[in-house]
């Protein structure tokens, strides 16, 4: 009783602090950039927007804030939260702390779909749709291959199947790149594959957000059952859960979340692997607490990384580059810190 209560209290405190941190970071990110804006100006601009007043003298500030920075901040929060939530679900469902949207090939598969969309000059919604189909098809193939290859360490087979099919999707992406228009489409594809929020517009956020929320609904509703699925099918079934249908629904939901943010941000690796790990270290594996913690941590992390991406150099640094530089050492540290359990 005592332990459980203090555990939940600790989690509530953590979540409150994290939420405050995210808001603080978002406010700070709005100030940072080549066009300096003071905290007072941000507050006034938001006040004007809420009151519906237009002030010709402050038009430049309004444009910087509402057309450039705030959509980008919102996109960073959305991408970070969605990838972390998806990563946490995949890790639970596949009973493996090493899987993530990248390792399962979901990101590359979604990438292939989106690259095809860019190649065919389709609108954002269609690119999102193709990204979703590509991501879901890849994760289904990975799962089928892993199921078909029996008699080996299942975790290893799953990860290897993801790597192999990811490589195959990567090869298809290369093929599309060769066929793409070198002046118009190729730079867009290349930049997109490294991940970037540089060209984000408010419209993009409004297209991606509903899909992310739709994907999130089953995760929130079924959050307790994700715990049971992480025990394995037989045990989950004996405890009264139908593992088959639940697993398919949750994988589809996590894939929808991944694909819809990949469609606007490009391939941003490592977030879905590292953030759920850190969240688990903080609040433990109970998905009830893990999901909100991972989402808030992921949102904060992505916002910091994206703010770095647009400020540390004259030109934009691709997000995928930064998350790899940060994520890889952190992951090695996690492995080396020798926790036998995750």
């Amino acid at each position: 009783m005592g332990a459980a209560t203090t555990g939940r209290l600790k989690t509530t405190v953590w979540l409150g602090l994290l939420a405050a941190l995210v808001i603080l970071l978002a406010f700070a990110a709005a100030l940072i950039g080549p066009f300096a804006v003071s905290p007072g100006q941000v507050a006034q601009a938001i006040g004007r927007r809420l009151a519906g007043i237009t002030d010709p003298a402050s038009q430049q500030i309004d444009t910087v804030l509402f057309a450039v920075r705030l959509p980008r901040i919102a996109a960073a929060l959305l991408v970070g939260a969605a990838l972390s939530a998806a990563g946490a679900v995949y890790q639970g469902l596949f009973r493996n702390p090493l899987v993530s949207p990248d390792i399962l090939g979901v990101s590359t598969g979604a990438g292939l779909g989106a690259v095809l969309g860019i190649f065919l000059s389709l609108p954002v919604v269609a690119i999102q749709g193709l990204a979703f189909v590509g991501g879901l098809a890849t994760v289904a193939l990975v799962y089928m291959v892993a199921n078909a290859v029996r008699g080996h360490e299942p975790t290893l087979v799953l990860v290897l199947a993801g790597v192999v099919l990811g490589a195959l999707a990567g090869a298809c992406i290369s093929l599309v790149k060769i066929l793409a228009d070198p002046y118009d489409q190729l730079p867009a594809i290349t930049f997109w594959l490294l991940g970037s929020l540089a060209s984000i517009r408010a419209d993009d956020v409004w297209t991606a957000a509903p899909a992310v929320i739709i994907g999130l609904v089953p995760l929130v509703l079924l959050r307790w059952r994700v715990n049971l699925l992480s025990l394995g099918d037989d045990e989950a079934a004996a405890l009264g859960v139908d593992p088959g249908r639940l697993r398919i629904l949750l994988v589809a939901a996590a894939t929808l979340m991944t694909a819809s943010v990949v469609a606007i941000s490009g391939v941003v690796g490592w977030v879905g692997l590292v953030i759920p790990h850190i969240a688990r270290l903080v609040v433990g594996p109970n998905f009830d607490r893990l999901l909100p913690t991972a989402m808030l941590l992921g949102a904060a992390y992505m916002l910091v990384v994206d703010t770095l991406a647009r400020t540390i150099a004259e030109t934009e640094t691709p997000l995928g580059v930064l998350t790899a530089f940060i994520g890889a050492p952190v992951f090695v540290w996690l492995l080396a810190s020798g926790r036998r359990s995750w």
Binding site: P97, W224, L228, A237, A238, G240
Partner: protein
């Protein structure tokens, strides 16, 4: 509530493990399953729990056929205690036990505070309340087995299936687990368990089912079924059954026999 199987065939798709099996147990009974490695005990349990489709015959829990019940209804009638395993994620012991309450809550709901109270009671019943906040991955095998039994208790099922509850436990923990089995049966639960130790069947079994090559070799009270002759024939080694001064029975394998 009574679990009964008649004329049961079981196995994996394309591979029959056992056949023509009848068994029946209910409240207050401890049915001990004995048999050599690979005789089909685990497959039988999975079939009784509906985790594997039966290949023939019939299983009834109470008045209903097993296939007519939904997953959560099966879980409310029969609980499963797997062999103490390594969990992938470090759930706290109380969260691990709390998962036993799932069948009693709706699809979208998480356990409530009264469920947590049930968990605390079950942990106290098994004498492991001090483990509530510990990581399930960081307690001993015996403690894990007791935690899994606690999980089965909060499931509120009148019947419990235990797959080798004493496997890989040290001597003290084996005794501890068998004591709990006996106490639970005394409270009116029906328990079926598999074991590799005939002494456990003597200690707390009300009925023994000897399984060999997937079918019933003997069924009855331990003292009648577990003769030296029977044990020798199951395990292929010479065994005699001795009666101690206090009236209890033990098996004595003849290790030095030539």
């Amino acid at each position: 509530m009574q679990l009964s199987a008649s004329n049961l065939s079981f196995g994996y798709p394309g591979h029959r493990v056992g056949h023509d099996l009848d068994l029946d147990f209910g409240p207050g009974e401890v049915l001990c399953l004995l048999g050599p490695n690979g005789c089909g005990k685990t497959t039988l349990f999975k079939t009784l729990l509906g985790l594997l489709p039966r290949q023939g015959g019939e299983i009834r829990i109470g008045a209903d056929r097993l296939e007519a019940l939904r997953r959560e209804d099966i879980a409310k009638r029969i609980a499963y205690v797997p062999q103490a395993h390594d969990a992938v994620f470090p759930y706290s012991v109380s969260d691990m036990v709390l998962m036993g309450r799932t069948a009693h809550r709706g699809l979208f709901s998480s356990p409530r505070s009264e469920d947590r109270q049930r968990v605390d009671e079950a942990l106290a019943t098994l004498g492991i309340d001090d483990l509530a906040g510990r990581d399930y991955t960081r307690i001993s095998g015996g403690q894990r087995q007791l935690a899994l039994i606690a999980r089965a208790l909060v499931q509120d099922a009148p019947l419990i299936v235990m797959d080798e509850p004493t496997a890989s436990l040290d001597f003290g923990n084996q005794v501890l687990v068998m004591q709990q089995v006996q106490r639970l049966a005394a409270t009116g639960l029906g328990i079926v368990l598999s074991t590799h130790n005939p002494d456990h069947a003597f200690a707390c079994g009300t009925t023994v089912l000897v399984l060999a090559e997937g079918t019933r070799k003997a069924l009855g009270p331990p003292i009648q079924v577990l003769t030296g002759e029977m044990l020798s024939s199951i395990y292929g080694v010479a065994v005699s059954v001795e009666t101690l001064a206090n009236g209890s029975h033990v098996c004595s394998p003849q290790i030095d026999a030539h």
